[in-house]
């Protein structure tokens, strides 16, 4: 390929002036792309340190695989320990992103714009690490695929009544959904990076990589309309999915008969705790990003203030749930529950319990209730405390109950081994490593969303000269506008001249609002396809679970072969995954993506925020060459 330079070669036909050599484009969001430009020492050192910690995780895991699960400090009756606490903790953290960003998007909160991407990335990485823990926890990890419904000749089939199978389906759905939800809004940003790289360093690895990753995004109104519909639909689907994920994680405990696990409040309690710890990680991550990458302009004090307020609300909700849970147990004072209760409140784990209350309720309310407390540094410190507290909560729930089984002949004890401690420490390293790498591969603050918010979808662009410029390639005439008003005027002129709408293409780096549509009104099938996909996915999941249970008739726990309530959970996840996949597939088809295109004129200016109108040149009805857009450009 020839690189972007060729697009600017003068055409000179018809005496039309060729595009002038492009003036150096000023890029308003330079701060956001700087981390991508090369190896900054800070990021390199950070990646190495976190990489070493991540290595610790895999070393310890390898050691455990080699020497059996017995190297963990588990025993009877404490069959679950750190690994399950970590699992719940990391899955909880994954609610940072997708859920918070989805709620903020659905409610059109303007201050979400710089937050969404870094939150969604937290989700993807935390979820991947959380999903690793059940595997680490297994006695025979190599056989984990027995849980997956793969037809085989060994008579193996998953038991859809088990909350662990629900877990697997919910986490798979959520991981798929949150990866796609991270990638969808990333496509226009990758296109911006592609266009910049093509102008700055054509042929470089970076330029070629972004060309593939941008999937051939052009930024036409059709594409924008479909993408925005897709993002909106995904945001709506992902909220109930996220709620279902942590509800199902809580059901791992509350479906049992164990004292202080068998509680109906666990679903909402866990979801609230998950969002709470999610916001905590988000605050810490945002603080580090702001300091490390100098993003004060984007991750502003206002963002921290607003998240701080949200944090106060969740501190209160979490405190309320904790109080309600313990009050109920204490008031009912069933002996088997009281044994768990007392050791938690004033027994061995009393210190852990009260530390948790202090860092999760007292400190957040005490600090963040005041505007001065909602500045970045104190907010991040409070967030660190809440992370500690939320991990403690999971530990108390998992181990606290298991130490005191119902038949009170056995009292368990639990001391984690160095392997478990190393894996916990390493999981933080792995998370930080993945995050560091992501920050170096994609803009951590969404460029187009911030730009859209700043421009309100119109007005002039600081990085592009006000005077429209023009270039010609491949039988099309491209005109660059700095403002949407000029574009709207030109579109109107073309319409009056009778240029076919199919010959006109508008490209922009942000969705253009307030520009008259070219041709027929753009419609997107995304919401309807999501509904269709949801119905199909739900039906498929229900049939899979119920029919396979009839074909594999193993009774468990005195339940009917096709128990409807548990299979409702499976059906719900089927609805969600069907809707998610259909939404994304529809966006891909409607946008005509997956076809990487060649560079075109004004790419760099387009990336900087300009708007490009290109019109196909062709014989007009009078038989002469149509004069495209010349009038407006002032030829």
């Amino acid at each position: 390929m020839s690189g972007a330079g060729s697009a600017y070669e003068p055409e000179g036909r018809d005496g039309t002036p060729a595009a002038a050599a492009p003036p150096p484009t000023r890029f308003a969001e330079e701060d956001l792309v700087r981390p991508l430009a090369g190896f900054r020492p800070g990021l390199l050192v950070g990646s190495l340190v976190t990489g070493a910690l991540a290595g610790l995780l895999f070393y310890c895991w390898g050691y455990q695989i080699r020497n059996d699960i017995g190297v963990a400090g588990l025993s009877r009756p404490v069959f679950w320990g750190f690994y399950i606490a970590n699992f719940v903790f990391w899955i909880g953290i994954s609610h940072a992103g997708t859920l918070i960003s989805a709620i903020l998007r659905v409610t059109s909160a303007e201050w979400r714009r710089p937050v969404t991407r870094c939150a969604e990335a937290i989700t993807v990485f935390a979820l991947s690490i959380g999903g690793l823990f059940p595997l680490i926890h297994l006695g025979r990890p190599a056989l984990f695929w027995y849980m997956v419904p793969i037809p085989n000749s060994r008579g193996l089939w998953p038991n859809f009544r088990s909350p662990l199978v629900w877990d697997m389906m919910a986490i798979t759905t959520y991981l798929t959904g949150s990866i796609l939800y991270l990638l969808l809004p990333l496509v226009p940003d990758l296109a911006i990076l592609r266009d910049r790289a093509a102008a700055e360093s054509p042929g470089s690895f970076r330029a070629r990589a972004y060309r593939v990753l941008a999937l051939g995004w052009r930024g036409t109104p059709r594409q924008w309309h479909s993408l925005e519909a897709g993002i909106r639909t995904m945001a709506i689907i992902i909220i109930p999915v996220a709620v279902s994920v942590h509800t199902i994680v809580s059901w791992d405990f509350s479906m049992t008969l164990q004292p202080m696990w068998h509680s109906t409040i666990f679903g909402p309690y866990f979801v609230v705790g998950a969002i709470y710890s999610g916001i905590a990680v988000l605050m810490v991550a945002m603080y580090l990003l702001r300091r490390g990458l100098h993003l004060e302009e984007y991750l502003s004090d206002k963002v921290f203030n607003n998240l701080g307020l949200l944090f106060v609300a969740f501190a209160m909700i979490w405190g309320y749930f904790t109080f309600a849970e313990h009050l109920t147990v204490w008031y009912g004072s069933e002996p088997s529950e009281m044994r768990v209760f007392w050791q938690r409140v004033r027994g061995d784990y009393g210190t852990v319990f009260w530390t948790m209350i202090v860092v999760n309720v007292v400190v957040p309310l005490g600090v963040l209730s005041f505007p001065r407390g909602r500045r970045p540094l104190p907010t991040a410190l409070v967030g660190l405390g809440v992370l500690l507290g939320m991990w403690m909560e999971r530990f108390l729930i998992v181990v606290g109950t298991l130490r005191f089984p119902r038949l009170d002949f056995t009292v368990g004890s639990y001391t984690p081994s160095w392997v478990e401690a190393g894996i916990l420490l390493g999981s933080f390293g792995l998370f930080a490593l993945l995050y560091f790498l992501f920050v170096q591969a994609a803009p951590i603050v969404s460029i187009w969303e911030v730009r859209e918010g700043r421009q309100g979808g119109g007005g002039s662009t600081p990085g592009v000269a006000a005077e429209p410029r023009r270039a010609r390639t491949g039988g099309r005439v491209h005109t660059l506008f700095a403002s949407t008003e000029d574009l709207a005027g030109e579109l109107e002129r073309l319409g009056r001249r009778g240029v076919a709408p199919g010959d006109i293409e508008v490209r922009s780096s942000v969705p253009l609002h307030g520009v008259p549509p070219v041709g027929r009104r753009v419609r997107s099938w995304v919401p309807w396809m999501a509904v269709a996909g949801g119905l199909a996915g739900g039906a498929a999941a229900f049939l899979l679970s119920s029919l396979s249970s009839l074909a594999y008739p193993l009774p468990t726990g005195g339940m009917p072969l096709v128990p409807l309530p548990p299979y409702g959970v499976i059906t719900f996840e089927g609805v969600a995954i069907g809707a998610i996949l259909c939404t994304v597939a529809t966006v891909l088809v409607e946008c005509g993506l997956l076809r990487p295109g060649a560079p075109e004129p004004f790419d760099a200016e387009l990336a900087a925020g300009g708007v490009v109108l290109s019109v196909r040149e062709g014989p007009d009805p009078s038989g002469e060459r149509a004069t495209p857009v010349g009038a407006a450009v002032g030829a």
């Binding site: 020497n67 025993s75 009756p77 297994l138 027995y146 849980m147 038991n159 088990s162 468990t556 548990p566």
Partner: protein
């Protein structure tokens, strides 16, 4: 239809522990050694618990052999993601070692805490490998195990009866624990057969279940002491 069950008379139990030893040797249960046992990793499919009645100095000790209760509505079964434990048509709570992937969820949901996990690969100091029971497979590391009601003996008796073209006789199947109990506190048989000794004892006014209020409907019935 058969429903295997067991009656344990706490009035007869002397707490001698013969059943525990018999169970170990019949079922090739690994002995984990002092250190591991101290960490709570000892594996006794059947273990004898002590129950104290009254207050000092008027104290009476009773013994309660605790083993898998083979519940009709077993909480351990539905939580297993891979059907490694399920209910057989003959009322056994079966454990399929080959399917087990070691989530340990079943053990967490067992209110009786009678499931045991192989934390390490079993090791036998020589020459103990020579006393292994060839009818029972050994379990590798990472697998859950528990009392099977000596299913190998049930199958053996059933095959024998079939070969001789007759029905199973009451008392023909005796698990290792019942066989070795010097006080004859343990009786095993078909609870569905009204003539069977086990069914007769189960109808006794002294009969009770462990944690009866949980609704797990165990197949092990205890007889209260006088």
């Amino acid at each position: 239809m058969t429903r295997w069950g067991m009656v344990i008379d706490t009035d007869r139990c002397t707490g001698c522990g013969a059943c525990v030893v018999a169970c170990h040797s019949e079922n090739n249960i690994q002995t984990v050694g002092e250190e591991e046992a101290a960490r709570g990793r000892a594996m006794h499919w059947l273990h004898i618990e002590r129950v104290y009645e009254g207050t000092f100095p008027d104290v009476k000790v009773r013994f309660l052999p605790v083993l898998c209760q083979h519940c009709e509505a077993a909480p351990c079964e539905p939580v297993c993601p891979v059907y490694a434990t399920y209910r057989t048509p003959e009322g056994l709570n079966a454990m399929v070692y080959n399917r087990c992937i070691g989530t340990r969820y079943c053990a967490n949901n067992c209110p009786y805490t009678v499931r045991f996990f192989n934390w390490h690969e079993p090791e036998l100091p020589r020459p103990l490998e020579r006393q292994l029971n060839p009818d029972v497979s050994r379990r590798p590391a990472g697998v859950m195990e528990k009392c099977t009601f000596c299913v190998q003996r049930i199958q053996d008796a059933q095959i024998r009866a079939k070969a001789e073209e007759r029905d199973l006789r009451d008392g023909e199947v005796r698990p290792a624990c019942a066989q070795s109990c010097p006080a004859r506190a343990i009786v095993f048989g078909d609870l569905e057969d009204p003539e069977a000794r086990v069914a007769e004892l189960a109808r006794s006014g002294r009969a009770f279940h462990l944690l009866e209020d949980l609704g797990t409907h165990p197949s092990v019935i205890y007889l209260r002491g006088e």
